[in-house]
């Protein structure tokens, strides 16, 4: 094996956090190498060191056998290393061509540089099968196409080594497959690819070799054909993990929440929700599948009372909400609707608050927490400790700042807060986003438990695997509409994937257009 990049005994700490411990790895030239690990395992830190965004405390980096110093991304690019970030770094109002030449304009006058760039871009598109219209405005491209622009940008700068950080986070399964085909073409043309992900399926589908990281250490390396998802999961977590969720058939009861023809139109007149009707019964889990940004966020906002609907009605436990009679989150909570928001950092907690303060967010006016004028801080602390105990939140310190907990533990705390109220309806957005495998298992089991206890659960997730394993019924959203419904037994990834991409598939089993 000839190594394109070798990292030797890399070490990096942030304050008291030892993010990367004595890691060595070799990335084979012209192959696709996967790096897998849970959130916080150190994958991204390691790649940021390679890309010059961070400086290692110790260790050496070799490119093509030569030791190099990566002081900044500039050095990385000079050595032919390019990175495609999880969050795209594109300027929406520029064309593809303008985005590609940005920072590499090649002279004070644009015309000459862009002309050269255009022909280079055409060559790249042809050679690598990366078809994008160079004159399209980025804002009008699909997410998959935007990602292709990001890859083109990197190749345009002469990268021979491509690092992709969680590239499938925003893609449909079909778009992900397409991405993997592109990666295969790149590989065939001699480009070295590094794929960072926490999704086992993608590692198995796309890579030649896989490195596994856990708690900052490199714990294993495997040739992909010789390993299995089960083995990788066990290596990532450090113990045996059950990937399959056991659950009994549902026993749906009365309708707890009914949405009829909900519409939401923003100030610019854009239809964010369009004629959404759904029913949520006691004792069932309904999953909302869809690529992020197709109205799921807005649906949760309307159902939880944060935004009033522009059209249609929402009936929750006997209360009817419409444009003229808006609800508010406090009222919805009183009605028994609990809400685990999609973005716990931005909505579900206050980073600077102690865990105990986050544990009563939204419930702080309940008599158990506040006497006439004063908060009962000892009671709040004891309550938080109880939640931490029940949901295994670590470390079990109610006085610690909320931001000091890992993503999984933050999520468990938010979930604990909402479930502890024994709600009639539980709305959950992205239950396991940024959560490690061990915690995913736990969170899924808790959601099923609360279903079995008679709660009506609505789960919104962009992770199709999660929807497939959790939901009893699946609704697919596209462009603000519910475009299909599938019962879980008959669900298959391909059908749902097509619906997520907007293709109606009335002929396929279990799917009915809305």
């Amino acid at each position: 094996m000839t190594a394109a990049i070798e990292l030797e005994r890399i070490d990096k700490s942030f304050g008291s956090v030892h993010a990367v411990r004595d890691v060595s790895l070799a990335i084979e030239k012209g192959a696709i190498t996967g790096i897998i690990g849970e959130n916080g395992a150190g994958k991204s830190t390691l790649m940021s060191i390679l890309y010059g965004l961070y400086h290692a405390d110790a260790g050496t980096i070799r490119v093509d056998g030569q030791p190099v110093r990566m002081e900044s991304p500039h050095d990385a690019i000079a050595h032919g290393i390019g990175m495609v970030h999880q969050h795209f770094m594109l300027i929406d109002s520029f064309t593809v061509l303008e985005n590609v030449v940005l920072g590499a304009e090649g002279g004070p006058l644009l015309a000459k540089g862009t002309a050269a760039a255009r022909s280079e871009l055409e060559r790249l598109s042809r050679d690598y099968g990366l078809t994008v219209d160079p004159d399209a405005v980025v804002a009008e491209l699909s997410v998959g196409e935007q990602q292709r622009v990001e890859i083109l940008k990197v190749l345009f700068r002469g990268a021979r080594i491509l690092i992709l950080d969680e590239p499938s986070a925003v893609l449909t399964p079909q778009e992900t497959d397409r991405l993997f085909r592109i990666l295969a073409t790149l590989k065939a043309r001699g480009v070295t690819v590094v794929l960072i992900t926490h999704k086992l399926r993608e590692i198995m589908a796309a890579t030649d070799r896989v490195y596994v990281m856990r708690q900052g250490r490199m714990v294993a390396v495997r040739a992909t054909p010789e390993t299995s998802p089960e083995e990788l999961a066990e290596l990532m977590v450090g113990r045996k993990v059950r990937l399959q969720l056991d659950k009994a058939p549902p026993h749906p009861g009365e309708v707890r929440l009914r949405a009829e023809h909900l519409g939401l139109i923003d100030r610019r007149g854009v239809r964010l929700l369009d004629d959404v009707s759904l029913e949520l019964r006691a004792g069932e889990i309904v999953g909302i599948a869809g690529v992020s940004g197709n109205g799921q966020t807005e649906l949760l906002q309307v159902l939880s009372g944060i935004r009033p609907p522009s059209r249609g009605t929402l009936t929750v436990c006997g209360r009817t909400i419409d444009a003229g009679h808006p609800g508010d989150p406090a009222e919805m909570r009183d009605l028994g609707v609990a809400h685990v928001p999609e973005d716990r950092q931005r909505q579900g907690m206050v980073a600077a608050f102690r865990a105990s303060e986050t544990a009563i967010l939204g419930y702080h006016e309940q008599p158990q927490f506040s006497r006439t004028f004063l908060l009962n801080l000892p009671a709040v602390g004891a309550y938080c400790a109880k939640l931490m105990e029940r949901f295994d939140v670590r470390p079990r310190v109610p006085g610690l700042r909320s931001s000091s907990f890992s993503g999984g533990n933050q999520q468990k705390l938010v979930l604990a807060r909402e479930m502890a109220q024994q709600p009639k309806v539980l709305l959950v957005g992205q239950p396991t986003r940024g959560v490690d495998i061990g915690a995913i298992e736990f969170i899924h089991r808790e959601l099923v438990k609360s279903r079995d206890a008679g709660c009506a659960v609505l789960v919104v997730s962009v992770e199709l695997d999660e929807i497939l394993s959790l939901a009893d019924r699946i609704l697919v959203m596209f462009a603000g509409k519910i475009v299909g419904e599938v019962t879980s037994g008959r669900a298959d990834e391909r059908t749902i994937g097509l619906m997520m991409a907007g293709a109606r598939a009335p002929a396929l089993g279990g799917a009915e257009g809305a």
Binding site: P341, M349, L377
Partner: protein, 354 residues
């Protein structure tokens, strides 16, 4: 180089001290340039501020104003609101206090007059803050802009009222008639220091209880740290903006009690004298915590009092020079508050490794 966070004590005690030290070193260089021995000047400053019972009294009297305006800034800040209008709110608070006194001081006994005066100051200060708050909450006008503009409105309004309406009959200067002794805030010691200091300390405790021990303080801080989480929690942001700003304005308004009922014993022009603006620096330096604000207020009071003594003793150091000194302290402990942190971190790392 590994940068560990500083230990808590260094963060709270050492860092501000280093900031102040840096400010004084810079001041020393400037003082040297204008031909004065910096050490001599420093001694005069400290003696001027703390050298006698009288100078301590003045220092604490100034500190009282800084506590009020510092608390005002801090309360709003915990709600994510930058109240730059402390100056105007203090001014109008004084107006309220003065109007109540002028109307009632001939009828009420002192034990009733003083609480009424305090309440009027707080009420008028709150009302003056309520207008920008309302504009922010319902109309989206940025509170920084509106509170700044309300300072000018307050100043213009006061000049008009003092010149045309409230001026004492037969007086040549724009000031009201003298208050009756029933409206004199009882003095503590022989000079300007009065019971308002006790009121300020009570306010510190009250602010601490409000922010960290009541459901409203909790909701206000939630809004300040993360408005989206506050909406998610069902907090009415508009009401919270009103609450935070009105409390803030009320605290600033209490400067009027210290100045008018405590010292001037009549309504005069320009009594807020920049305390409202300095409150921003006091709050910043005191880390928006009542205890820190008391300490910062004493420092600012000392600079005010010691600076006055300094300019009296050394002709080269003019009033303006004293303002420069204060400005540098504000600069280093406010705007440049994070400047020495990396140095201290490096120092701690060195000590740990050796």
């Amino acid at each position: 180089m590994i940068r560990r966070p500083l230990p808590a004590w260094a963060e709270i005690v050492l860092l501000p001290l280093v900031n102040i030290a840096l400010a004084f070193v810079t001041v020393g260089i400037i003082v040297r340039i204008i031909g004065v021995d910096p050490l001599h000047a420093l001694v005069l400053l400290v003696v001027g501020a703390f050298g006698s019972a009288e100078s301590i009294g003045y220092t604490l009297y100034y500190a009282t104003n800084f506590i009020f305006t510092g608390l005002a800034v801090a309360v709003a800040f915990h709600g994510g609101l930058f109240n730059i209008g402390g100056e105007g709110q203090a001014y109008i608070g004084g107006l309220g206090c003065g109007l109540a006194v002028l109307a009632l001081d001939r009828y009420l006994p002192i034990w009733l007059m003083i609480p009424v005066g305090i309440a009027a100051a707080a009420l008028f200060g709150a009302a003056w803050a309520a207008v920008p708050a309302w504009l922010q909450a319902w109309r989206g006008s940025h509170i920084v802009i509106t509170t700044i503009m309300f300072n000018f409105v307050a100043a213009a309004l006061m000049v008009y009222l003092m010149v045309n309406v409230l001026i004492a009959p037969g007086s040549m200067t724009p000031q009201s008639r003298n208050f009756e002794p029933s409206a004199f805030m009882p003095a503590m010691g022989g000079n300007a220091l009065n019971l308002s200091l006790a009121l300020a300390l009570v306010c510190c405790v009250a602010v601490w209880v409000f922010l960290w021990h009541t459901p409203w303080g909790y909701a206000l801080r939630t809004m300040g740290h993360n408005p989206e989480a506050a909406v998610y929690a069902g907090t009415d942001l508009r009401r919270m903006i009103m609450l935070g700003m009105c409390l803030s304005g009320a605290l600033a308004g209490l400067v009027g009690v210290n100045e008018l009922m405590g010292v001037h014993h009549r309504i005069v022009l320009d009594f807020p004298a920049g305390y409202g603006f300095a409150g921003i620096a006091v709050s910043l330096m005191g880390r928006n915590h009542p205890l820190g604000i008391v300490l910062a207020a004493v420092l600012f009071g000392a600079l005010q009092q010691g600076g006055a003594e300094l300019s009296f003793d050394i002709p080269n150091i003019t009033r303006e020079m004293v303002v420069v000194i204060q400005g540098l302290v504000i600069l280093f402990s406010g705007a440049l508050v994070h400047l020495p942190r990396p140095w201290l971190q490096a120092l701690f790392a060195l000590r740990r490794s050796s």
